[in-house]
């Protein structure tokens, strides 16, 4: 495992933010996942929850049990420890319909990028993505990293009515909206899958470090799959 450059920041009375300066890539997802597992394994009794994001970890703790400075020194003791965390080799195959009926920003984005819509679609499905982080909305997935041709800023004015299952792109990432929501990513497709299952103990099937592959489906297939209840993705 490569050495990591991180800093510890007292976020409030009961949380510490660990930020990484490393390049943002798959290796960093692994490094952060590894540290998170070690924290869960070795620091007992005072941690309420840990939020894993693209280049940081937020540790929320019970301030009646430990002080920020005590916790930071405990964390530093295990910061470079190897864990039994295995690089996930799980690839979730996600069906996506790129029909402009649902891909509401595909044409405008293609115009901006001086590409054809099909070049955007091909570039989007050509890669296998790392799940970088879950958050923002319940089950919202941040996935990296898109083909360099697809790099774009978030939309200037967020859309107010993005549909459940919509696939967005912004910066060098792609994402999945698990529910109807406002949002600032360019929408280039839609998936019929349920990405958040309220009734399950593990409401999200994927976790950071897993991989996602997009499989193109037609509008007809989308309609058909949409009718099947609680459709799950296939993992390979």
């Amino acid at each position: 495992m490569k050495a990591s450059l991180k800093s510890y920041f007292i976020y409030n009375e009961s949380s510490i933010l660990i930020s990484y300066d490393n390049p943002i890539d798959s290796e960093l997802v692994y490094t952060i996942s590894n540290y998170k597992i070690n924290i869960e394994k070795h620091i007992k009794g005072c941690i309420i929850e840990i939020v894993q994001s693209i280049n940081s970890l937020l540790i929320i703790f019970n301030k009646d049990k430990v002080s920020s400075n005590e916790l930071i020194s405990e964390l530093k003791k295990i910061e470079n420890k190897e864990s039994n965390y295995l690089k996930s080799n799980k690839i979730w195959q996600i069906p996506v319909c790129y029909d402009t009926k649902y891909a509401v920003d595909l044409e405008s984005l293609a115009n901006d990028k001086q590409l054809s819509p099909s070049e955007i679609i091909d570039a989007h499905k050509s890669k296998i993505y790392d799940v970088l982080s879950l958050g923002f909305l319940p089950g919202f997935m941040y996935l990296g990293f898109t083909h360099e041709h697809l790099y774009c800023e978030r939309k200037q004015t967020p859309s107010l009515d993005i549909k459940k299952g919509s696939i967005g792109i912004a910066l060098n990432q792609t994402c999945i909206y698990p529910q109807d929501s406002p949002g600032g990513w360019h929408i280039i497709g839609i998936s019929p899958i349920d990405f958040f299952d309220l009734g399950s103990k593990t409401p999200c099937f994927a976790k950071p470090g897993d991989k996602i592959e997009f499989i193109e489906i037609s509008s007809k297939e989308f309609q058909k799959m949409k009718k099947e209840k609680s459709l799950k993705p296939i993992s390979k």
Binding site: S19, E49, Q52, I54, L134, G135, P138, Y142
Partner: protein, 278 residues
């Protein structure tokens, strides 16, 4: 059972919050003003995190179909039982058939109605707190029936010495992106008053804008109390139902007491930031 005759502006069930699920994007929720909610629960001998009713700005009218013991704390909403004023911050015995009317707020933005024994509503991901897309209801509606536990044996007649007080000074930590601010804007932050514009359980927006915003950051964790500065210069203070991850720079972070105090302020109220020296 308690029947909702009039729901008020935005009346919800809240408890200590939903903990352990921010990692999959589920907000913490829970009491906006924890201090007041804890006091309400304590008066009726509940665990301090027990579920209760949170009332915002304009109170509900509720019909009790059980005998029970209640307490009301937080902002002053001039509560009446069968038309007669009742005291806040002490336990009140309510009888079957009584009507509790909670008026508009005279002071503060939120009050808390605790019922001895708590509220019998389904817990989802370890919490009864109402949240859009997670719980069945997001707020109480006319005609709703709120089930409560039979707690008639719980003998309590307690007063709480706590006094409700508004506090407009917000104690803050530096946020992770604080150092991206210009010296000039840092001075403005701590020397000016800011005005609350729209506000909800998700966030409080401030009227005053920064002349220069800062560029978005890589999507990173945020918490209730995180103060964000948008690229267009808007200042947003996140609250209990806020998202778990955000892309706006986090310039300040309110401490727990200040977050409670903010919950009692409303549109047009002024606040001031004061840096916590460590």
């Amino acid at each position: 059972m308690i029947k909702v005759i009039q729901p008020g502006l935005f009346t919800t069930i809240q408890d200590g919050g939903r903990h352990g699920y921010r990692n999959i994007g589920i907000p913490s929720s829970g009491f906006m003003d924890q201090e007041s909610a804890w006091a309400a629960n304590k008066i009726v001998n509940n665990d301090r995190e027990e579920s209760l009713i949170e009332i915002t700005l304009k109170g509900p009218t509720l019909l009790f179909n059980n005998n029970c013991t209640i307490s009301i704390t937080g902002g002053d909403f001039n509560p009446l039982i069968n038309g007669l004023p009742i005291k806040m911050y002490e336990s009140i015995n309510v009888k079957l058939g009584d009507t509790l009317k909670i008026n508009n707020s005279k002071n503060g933005a939120r009050c808390y109605l605790a019922i001895s024994g708590g509220i019998d509503v389904k817990s989802i991901f370890g919490s009864k707190s109402f949240l859009s897309n997670i719980t069945e209801s997001y707020y109480l509606r006319k005609g709703d029936e709120i089930k409560i536990y039979d707690n008639s044996n719980n003998k309590i007649l307690k007063k709480n010495k706590l006094k409700f007080k508004l506090n407009r000074s917000m104690d803050v930590f530096k946020g992770p992106e604080f150092d991206l601010l210009s010296i000039k804007f840092k001075n403005i932050l701590f020397e000016s008053e800011f005005t609350i514009r729209s506000n909800s359980r998700m966030a409080y927006n401030l009227d005053e804008k920064a002349q220069i915003g800062i560029k978005s950051i890589i999507s990173s964790p945020v918490m209730p109390g995180s103060v964000q500065l948008t690229p267009s210069g808007k200042i947003i203070i996140l609250h209990r139902d806020c998202q778990t991850i955000g892309g706006y720079p986090r310039i300040l972070q309110l401490d727990t007491n200040s977050l409670n105090n903010l919950s009692q302020l409303k549109s047009n109220d002024k606040i001031k930031f004061s840096l916590i020296t460590q």
